[in-house]
């Protein structure tokens, strides 16, 4: 696909997303808001999985904690201020990512997968077993956050069209900032770490710090997604931190095609629309979702993005070099 066709396709897609709420059904405006939130979430995980080579199976921790912060901060009888609550939620998620990241980034490979999962579960049990925020039932947000500037209310998240545009704005902003980040020297270093961490260390980069910063950025972005999800549904429960969500967002990243900018968008749209379609066919829709996931794992190693024709003269991400990740002696078994 030439660059021109590609840009036209992107513009048409964007235009469709922009006019959609003006013509679309209420249900679908909400459904698409939900998908767009997931593109932010999947994009943040892609930063770790696709670009840095850190496979996190506990990314919902940051998504969920941001939702909980919004729920706990929101007063029962009034709406929370958008800016303050957003800053608190995203900041809280980033802080949690710093805390968990400083521990898990010490490990690599398969340890990283299990450790991230376990920390997220720790948080899950904290909210599930104690009475901090409604226990296993969760907690309601009675009034959605609003933006108030001197008595003028430009944005009310209870309005689904307002909400849709806000989510669309954040999702585009997230993609653009991930793109900018990756083109920066910092981005080159994290991609270098994925390809060969030992070499980056030999070149004098303090890879631990780079990975940690990346983990915190990804956590903050996941927090943004969690904040939006909590304000959309008006309820936060431990499932928001659970490993099922971490698993399905990871599926979105891998299905879409990790390490590509469009991958998470493609993954979020295809997985959520497939699930919606399967749910209308059968009660046992997860069987079909599972089958699709298995088939993609077997036959489409580069995900759905691998189906798109390659950009001419495009530089694709270099593959991870064999046996040189230096992430873990136990993982780099001699015959790999």
């Amino acid at each position: 696909m030439s660059t021109r066709v590609r840009s036209i396709a992107l513009l048409v897609g964007l235009a469709l997303l922009l006019v959609f709420p003006l013509v679309g059904d209420r249900f679908y405006v909400q459904f698409f808001s939900k998908i767009l939130i997931m593109t932010i979430f999947a994009g943040s995980l892609n930063l770790l999985v696709g670009y840095t080579g850190l496979i996190s199976l506990g990314h919902a921790a940051f998504f969920g904690i941001a939702g909980y912060i919004l729920a706990l901060y929101s007063p029962d009888t009034a709406a929370a201020g958008l800016l303050t609550s957003l800053l608190l939620s995203v900041g809280g998620a980033a802080l949690l990512a710093l805390l968990i990241g400083s521990l898990v980034v010490r490990t690599g490979g398969i340890f990283f997968i299990m450790a991230t999962l376990a920390f997220a579960e720790m948080l899950f049990y904290l909210f599930h077993d104690t009475a901090i925020a409604g226990g296993s039932d969760g907690i309601y947000i009675y009034q959605r956050p609003t933006l108030m500037i001197a008595g003028w209310q430009p944005l009310d998240l209870a309005n689904i069209v307002h909400f849709y545009y806000l989510v669309l704005f954040f999702s585009l902003a997230a993609i653009v900032s991930i793109h900018t980040l990756l083109r920066s020297p910092f981005g080159k270093v994290i991609v270098g770490i994925r390809v060969n961490e030992q070499r980056m260390r030999a070149l004098g980069f303090h890879t631990y710090r780079y990975k940690l910063v990346c983990f915190v950025i990804a956590g903050a972005l996941a927090g943004l997604a969690g904040y939006l999800a909590a304000s959309q549904f008006g309820v936060v429960n431990p499932e928001m931190l659970g490993w099922h969500l971490s698993g399905s967002v990871l599926m979105m990243v891998i299905l879409g095609g990790m390490g590509t900018l469009v991958g998470p968008v493609l993954g979020a749209f295809s997985l959520m629309m497939l699930e919606e379609g399967f749910q209308s066919i059968t009660k046992h829709w997860q069987l079909l979702t599972g089958a699709v996931i298995v088939l993609v794992a077997l036959y489409l190693p580069r995900g759905f993005a691998g189906l798109l024709p390659k950009r001419t003269g495009n530089k694709t991400l270099p593959p991870r070099s064999k046996g040189g990740t230096g992430s873990s002696a136990a993982v780099d078994r001699p015959y790999v």
Partner: protein
């Protein structure tokens, strides 16, 4: 704490730990030998428990159900390895995560289609239905003691098989150098198929053994999977010895964590945090020894 209650909790903790070991050892072996991360491992625990329930009802005998369930799981494991897992050996961990996550969804729906979503219980076999009296009011069920003994016997058998038999030697050789082992004329494909089949059969067997002491419910696989990850991280990936130590540690911490409530009465915070305690322990181990207690040193 009353010494009898302490003894009961100690036995419970050890029994829970040994059961965890059966599940976790399969997970750690499959990773250590084949390099495959199997997220669907917990599903086999769940399937095992449902198999025990349904086969006991069909055959009318728990022991026959146990035996036929084990054989069925080995066959299922070989089939799955042949169908899916063998395509993953040379792939990234990510594809393994993707595929085995898909398998979780498939198995959970298949269970729902075949057996429904209800919670069931399996009767303790008549032979082991009694309990050993400790005091006038306290007694300990024979089945739980038998369960612990079976787990220890299986662990010892596994150790002997891997360390002292020709098959074990081949497996260890295959783990350290796949190509070299193959060029010595050993059918590495078959070897891996056997390891995978026995690994998941161990998980299924643990599920079958657990069926009479816990209830049989849909979410049991995921719950045990997460705990097993903690066991494997604490013990060191690929280390069976580590899995044993970590499983016992977690069994005891979890069991005693839940009964501290008795101890301190009014102080209600601790038992509620028991669910978290194992994860806190894992965090400490990761800080202190990122490679786990018995894992190979990183770097």
């Amino acid at each position: 704490m009353d010494p009898h209650i302490f003894l009961i909790q100690l036995l419970n903790g050890v029994q829970y730990g040994l059961l965890l070991f059966l599940v976790a050892s399969g997970l750690t072996l499959i990773f250590g030998i084949m390099g495959v991360i199997n997220l669907a491992h917990g599903s086999f625990y769940m399937l095992g428990a449902y198999l025990a329930w349904s086969l006991t009802a069909q055959l009318g005998n728990f022991w026959l159900a146990l035996l036929s369930g084990f054989v069925l799981s080995v066959v299922l494991g070989m089939l799955l390895e042949w169908l899916f897992i063998r395509h993953l050996y040379r792939r990234d961990h990510l594809q393994q995560v993707l595929l085995t996550y898909g398998l979780i969804l498939i198995f959970s729906e298949l269970r729902s289609i075949v057996w429904g979503d209800d919670v069931h219980s399996v009767a303790v076999p008549a032979l082991l239905a009694g309990s050993i009296p400790l005091t006038e009011t306290l007694a300990y069920p024979v089945y739980r003691i038998w369960l612990s003994i079976i787990c220890v016997v299986l662990a010892a058998g596994m150790y002997y098989l891997i360390q002292h038999t020709r098959l074990g030697m081949m497996i260890r050789a295959g783990a350290s150098n796949r190509e070299m082992t193959q060029s010595l004329g050993i059918d590495i494909g078959l070897l891996y198929r056997l390891v995978f089949a026995f690994g998941i059969a161990l998980a299924a067997f643990a599920g079958m053994l657990a069926a009479p002491v816990s209830s049989v419910y849909p979410g049991m696989g995921n719950q045990v999977l997460i705990i097993c990850f903690v066991v494997v991280v604490i013990g060191g990936i690929g280390s069976v010895k580590g899995a044993m130590a970590a499983a016992l540690l977690i069994g005891l911490v979890d069991t005693f964590g839940k009964v501290v409530e008795f101890e301190i009465g009014g102080f209600r915070v601790l038992p509620e945090l028991a669910g978290m305690s194992v994860f806190v322990m894992m965090a400490i181990v990761l800080l202190w020894r990122p490679e786990g207690l018995f894992g190979a040193r990183l770097r």
